[in-house]
């Protein structure tokens, strides 16, 4: 927006500029106020012992367990384990899913053949695959990666496919006029035409992956953020569980912010500004 470019503050006491800088301050102050209020409520509830301490750990206890986990180094290694599994599973499903979606989008008979089964699997909770994942891949990274793949592959394929279906036919007409064929047509016309929607689909399915990894690690792994929560539950250390929950939420938000940077690429802006 042009407005954000107006020189800031003191030199010009123009009402527009001051309201703009006011807006940016509010953008930070408002969420922080909400956050602090929630912390206060939490502190208050644990202070008056509404729930026993083992069922609702106090902010102080969580902070203490956070320090312990950091010192022990377990939290860091769990974070790395989870990020690795989500990363690998997510990349495999993007590398396979996006091309499959592009292909399906361009072939009507293939769509008719495969869409019902793809929809079936999309609505099948990936957690239903847990017994198979463990029997097929045993314990470790592999079952978790498999579950992440099962959770993200189908929504990615279907989103890419329907994005291809919405490409205005005029682009293909122009492509024909200028002799785009085969693989060049795919990489220089079809794919760039759906990129904005594919980025959105990636963000959505990353969200699914991050939710699924916690459940997957509770049963199929010996480490990771999900396993950390599971272990905390077993030892009735809910302070440690809360500490893991905070990390899961923050990392999820952080990586989504990273993926959101993709939408700022100049050659995809058109998809979000119309």
């Amino acid at each position: 927006m042009e407005r954000s470019k107006t020189p800031e503050g003191r030199a010009a006491p123009v009402p527009v500029a001051s309201s703009a800088s006011q807006k940016t301050t509010l953008r930070f102050i408002l969420p922080i106020t909400v956050l602090l209020s929630l912390l206060l409520i939490w502190y208050f509830i644990s202070y008056i012992n509404l729930f026993p301490a083992y069922a609702l750990p106090s902010p102080g206890a969580v902070l203490k367990s956070f320090r312990e986990e950091m010192v022990a180094g377990r939290l860091i290694s769990d974070v790395i384990a989870s990020l690795w599994r989500v990363g690998v599973g997510f990349i495999i499903s993007a590398v396979l899913g996006i091309p499959v979606g592009l292909w399906l989008g361009q072939h009507m008979y293939a769509r008719q053949a495969f869409v019902p089964i793809l929809n079936f699997f999309r609505f099948l909770s990936p957690l239903a695959w847990i017994p198979f994942a463990i029997l097929w891949f045993h314990i470790g990274d592999k079952p978790a990666i498999f579950l992440i793949f099962m959770a993200t592959f189908f929504p990615l394929v279907l989103a890419t496919m329907s994005a291809v279906a919405t490409i205005p036919s005029i682009y293909f007409r122009v492509a024909q006029d200028y002799n785009y064929k085969g693989i060049e047509l795919l990489t220089k016309v079809t794919f760039p035409a759906v990129t904005p929607q594919v980025i959105t689909a990636l963000r959505v399915s990353y969200g699914i992956a991050w939710v699924v990894i916690v459940a997957a690690e509770m049963v199929g792994c010996q480490d990771g953020l999900g396993y950390g929560i599971w272990e905390a539950r077993n030892g009735l250390r809910l302070d440690s569980a809360v500490c893991y929950m905070i990390i899961i939420g923050l990392l999820g938000m952080g990586i989504d912010r990273l993926l959101a940077q993709l939408t700022k690429l100049p050659n995809v802006r058109w998809g979000y500004e119309r």
């Binding site: 682009y171 122009v174 802006r269």
Partner: protein, 249 residues
């Protein structure tokens, strides 16, 4: 560069076409001479766009023969630029067939100057006005070795003043880079200002019901006598002007 005027032409002989049971064109004959600007005017749905689609080869005629000589490019109504490419990259699409990089670069520079968008060459289409986008489209079709331009109501989605402006621009561009043009429009002013020859089409199935030569030099003002006379003539053919008030009151 070869002389485009002498090498490109279009010939339609007894061309008929129908969609299902609806006959759209009936025994159409048309010869477009090299370097000529032919404007097709007619009621909407009379098959103007069908004629362009036949010429560009996107559809095959049900009967009759179509012969064209030269590379054909089409200007569409709006938004046929690739939104993921910059102005420069979009124009470069028209130069794809040129293998020599240096020549391509030179052409690209000339074209961007020709449409006066040097300051916007790294902008994306969604950052431009409708008129600017149409200028980029024109640059794209004029690029490289194109011979014949098919224009499908290219200015119809612009506002009135932008449309007036684009007509002048087109005349100016064609002066620099002569092409054989088949221009379809429902805008009678446009026809009268741009055409060497106006063909008024009848209702479906389309036949040419009137052929009008306009000899006045371009650029023509909207208020030039030749333009006004041509407009009167076209309006009469289309049935919008009764013969008793052709003399001004």
């Amino acid at each position: 560069m070869k002389d485009k005027r002498s090498t490109s032409w279009i010939m339609l002989e007894n061309v008929s076409h129908s969609y299902g049971t609806v006959s759209v064109l009936n025994e159409l004959n048309l010869l477009v001479n090299p370097g000529e600007v032919v404007v097709l005017v007619g009621p909407s749905g009379c098959g103007k766009t069908t004629i362009l689609n036949l010429l560009s080869g996107h559809i095959e005629p049900a009967s009759g023969s179509i012969q064209t000589e030269g590379i054909i490019r089409t200007v569409y109504q709006l938004d046929s630029l690739f939104p993921w490419l910059t102005v420069l990259e979009n124009i470069a699409i028209g130069l794809r067939s040129i293998p020599d990089i240096a020549r391509r670069e030179k052409e690209l520079r000339e074209l961007i100057e020709l449409i006066h968008l040097e300051d916007f060459k790294h902008h994306y289409p969604h950052q431009l006005s409708g008129g600017m986008r149409q200028r980029v489209e024109l640059a794209r079709v004029l690029a490289g070795d194109s011979d014949i331009l098919l224009m499908d109501e290219p200015f119809s989605s612009l506002d009135y003043q932008a449309r007036l402006h684009m007509r002048t621009e087109l005349v100016h561009l064609l002066e620099k880079r002569p092409r054989t043009v088949v221009f379809v429009t429902h805008d009678i002013e446009e026809a009268a200002q741009l055409a060497d020859r106006v063909l008024v089409l009848s209702n479906r199935p389309a036949t040419i019901c009137c052929e009008l030569h306009i000899d006045a030099l371009r650029p023509r003002n909207l208020t030039d006598n030749a333009v006004i006379d041509a407009m009167k003539e076209i309006l009469k053919e289309l049935g919008f002007q009764t013969s008793n008030n052709t003399n001004m009151n």
